[in-house]
Amino acid sequence: MSRRKIMNSLVFLLLAIFSVVTLFPIIWTAITSLKTDVQMFAIPPDLLPHPATLSHYKEVITGNFPAYIRNSILVTFFSCAISLALGIPAAYGFAKYGTEKTKPVFAAVTAVRMVPPVAMVIPFFLIIRNIHLSDTLLGLIITYIPFELTLIIWMLKNFFGQIPREVEEAAELDGLSAWGILLKVVLPMSRSSVGVAGLMAFLFSWNEFMFALSLTSTKSAQTLTVGIAGYVTSFQTFWGSMSATGILFMIPAFILTFIFQKDLVKGLTAGAVKG
């Protein structure tokens, strides 16, 4: 009995240490964001900011940050909304109305994941330039849609596939069409899965960097990832502004994770699990 207790305390202690290691970079960023410039470069570093200052947040908010976050929000919102609107019916179609002919199509959809983003940077860069969408939000939205769309189709196909056939048969007898069943019966019972699929799409566009870097050049379309990377120049690094921006950057992702924590693992492994 007591041996078990000792073991459990040991496990708790180890987990606590891992938690500290996990949270420390974020906590340190938060501390840095509250330090004055003088204090930031103290050797050895001070553990706590004294006096704490919000000046970096003020700098950031009165600087380019509002433009970056506006761009990030718009790109993320529209790319996710369009991808969900296209991806939910497609996933349902593949799951429940699949035929021998749709199989290779689905294989092609899943193959998108094998393509490294850097392979698409070249064609996207040239095409976006030629249709005069360089440095626009629309250009980024178009670029993100295929990646989010395939992620959503992949995840939701597995989920929809698990819905018992009887549910749809009953609805069919009520005279509902395939679209009617999807909208009135299947969607209301799949809120959490659709939520997780949406979260994955959100994370992709919110955190995406390579395309944003190559397809935008001014703050009229640059997103937060490009903006925050700009605080690191070859001459100087603005750690205060970077930390304040980083903290503001992470808040929306944390809130969404907290909401969807239960279904997160399902979302993370979707697609790899054969449905």
Partner: protein
């Protein structure tokens, strides 16, 4: 009789049409904004780079592929990427297993711990890279301050290739291990208790139980993680860009940063595209092997 089969086929036709109407919009969009550009990328890889910049095409066959494959920088980047992928995935699995098995014991606060370990999954690689760059900073960095306190020599992390790799791998472990932990934990949750108990009765110790009972049962889970992490690790870009930019002296150049530079620094679109297709080939081959292994299991 014939009337009945007729009505079935009409119903079947209706079903099919319904299915196509659900699938078609997404497929059309994917065709136009993914597969056509992908085809274009392939065309670029067999064309002269200068022609591409001027929006034309000049067929050069596999010349770009040959020049990439004989390019020492590409081969170095390939070697670095393989080194990175093998090192990080091995460490991710070791740490992942330790933490997942600890969490599996369901001690007080397990739920909170699980939530904490999920946090890095949400952080953008760019932001994480910047955080770790600050943590690894030379003089005012907290890591070096700690090493100093412990009486250890604090290196200038980003001036040497070996220590630069340490920084990249540590930052990547922080970002990616939570995924491995959470998925392994989900896999552990699905194991049969009876087998573990039977092993305990047979007098197997913990280590024997882990290797002979738990590990074989977790094979499908491990393969899922492997497929996802391999494809992700192979395309690493953001972290390397932020932490080292491929330096010092090209010592941490990976495939994605190499290709990106070919494109946007040297304007060698043809070679960049050819290199990207080679990378794609490698990723496809690895995923194929994993999938084959997986279906053999089933």
């Amino acid at each position: 009789m014939s009337g009945k089969t007729g009505s079935i086929s009409i119903r079947e036709k209706k079903r099919r049409r319904a299915g196509y109407s659900l699938i078609a919009p997404a497929c059309l969009v994917l065709l136009v904004i993914f597969f056509v550009p992908l085809l274009y990328a392939f065309a670029i890889s067999i064309s002269d780079s200068d022609a591409v910049i001027n929006n034309s095409f000049r067929f050069v066959g596999l010349k770009n592929y040959f020049s990439v494959m004989t390019n020492s920088k590409f081969l170095a980047a390939l070697g670095h990427t393989c080194f990175f992928v093998i090192t990080t995935i091995t460490l991710e699995f070791i740490i992942g297993f330790v933490v997942a098995l600890l969490l599996y014991r369901e001690v007080a606060g397990s739920r909170v711990f699980r939530l904490i370990f999920a946090v890095p999954l949400m952080v953008a690689p760019v932001v994480s890279g910047l955080q770790w760059r600050w943590l690894f900073a030379d003089q005012y960095g907290i890591i070096n301050a700690l090493l100093d306190k412990l009486g250890l020599a604090a290196p200038l992390w980003f001036t040497q290739v070996s220590t630069s790799w340490v920084a990249i791998i540590v930052a990547n472990l922080w970002l990616a291990t939570p995924f491995v932990i959470l998925v392994l934990l989900a896999g552990l949750g699905g194991l049969s208790e009876e087998l573990n108990e039977a092993a305990a009765i047979d007098g197997a110790n913990r280590i024997q139980t882990f290797f002979h009972i738990i590990l074989p049962q977790l094979k499908p889970t491990i393969l899922i993680i492997l497929v996802i992490r391999l494809t992700d690790a192979f395309r690493i870009y953001d972290l390397v860009y932020i932490l080292t930019g491929g330096g010092p002296g090209g010592g941490t150049e990976v495939l994605s940063t190499f290709i990106y530079k070919r494109i946007f620094s040297d304007w060698k679109f043809g070679q960049g595209s050819a290199a990207a297709f080679l990378v794609m080939l490698i990723i496809c081959a690895l995923s194929f092997l994993c999938n084959k292994w997986m279906s053999e299991e089933e």
